[in-house]
Symmetry: C2
DNA sequence: GAATTCCCCAGTAATTTACTCGGTTAAGCG
DNA sequence: CGCTTAACCGAGTAAATTACTGGGGAATTC
């Protein structure tokens, strides 16, 4: 697994689509302005996302991008893997021979961790994040005037 | 959160210490050879790790590095944060004003995700990975006659 | 047919990664 | 005491990635 600013751009852009794509497509120009990323760089990212079917482009005036699937069927892992190339570095030794067990051992341990992270991010969808965000917004707004900063406390409770 | 090859190097190196540090310190030269990383680059990484108290260096002949704490008290998040600088990109707006809600919204959603990943990696320790690895090895070997390759088992015992 | 917007690609500045190379300091050993 | 080993330290740099610039094209709408 790999988690870079590139992946962050992709995820936030996808979240932008999830939030604003309900009433018509979202243009890259909008996202570019919203997120402060250059248009051409966004185009590159979206070329990758489109290649994986995560977004769908509509040309012409009034055009833009939709999510390729419902937001609850797009995981964070999907998005990050689409833009981050995700090369396998595991290809070294299929079975660790008794000679150089060390490298094989640490690598397989890392692979295990990497897999855990990947599984974790597979279970989180764009819809999940949006939902959590809305809930947080709601409970922050809910009749709270002064103790709104400390929503962390009763959220933990 | 950020997850790069640099973080991977750090984690695998720390796993190397966790696996081999039981009977004396491990030299960077060894790790360099095991993991295929250059010595000086390792020195840089270990300078950062040492700065966070995650490793402890011993000079002179027979010297090397120990883990700074027991392996079950060092989380993956600790290791990755030590080498990856972990700059905050959240500092933009404390509370999103209703004006430019868009950028603030997607950013806070990302921050939420980032926090989730961080929490996840905080709960995984070096010891956890080693334990899982040994268990997997054990169950793979179960019924196997050639237990010669796994000196790890009786070294941990 | 003109504006809009996706689409595509080549080049490149900026940043990060990873390394080379030069040393110094502390510790062990004969 | 010298000698070796290894951690420590820092400047400089190749390589890779990130992020952008700029040039076009193709589909769609008005």
């Amino acid at each position: 697994m790999r988690l870079s600013t590139k992946g962050r751009y992709a995820v936030t852009a996808m979240l932008d689509l999830a939030l604003n794509g309900t009433e018509g497509p979202v243009t890259l120009a909008d996202i570019s302005e919203n997120q402060g990323i250059s248009l051409s760089y966004l185009e590159q990212l979206f070329a990758a996302l489109r290649g994986k079917g995560l977004v769908r482009g509509v040309r012409g005036p009034g055009g833009g991008y939709y999510l390729g699937r419902p937001a609850d069927e797009i995981s964070i892992a999907d998005v990050i893997c689409a833009v981050d190339e995700w090369v396998e570095f595991t290809r070294c030794n299929p079975r660790p021979s008794s000679a150089d067990t060390q490298r094989g051992m640490t690598h397989s341990l890392w692979d295990d961790l990497s897999q855990q992270i990947y599984d974790f991010l597979t279970k989180i969808t764009l819809a999940d994040l949006v939902k959590r965000g809305l809930e947080r917004e709601a409970e922050r707004k809910q009749g709270k005037s002064a103790e709104d900063l400390l929503d962390l406390n009763h959220r933990a409770a």
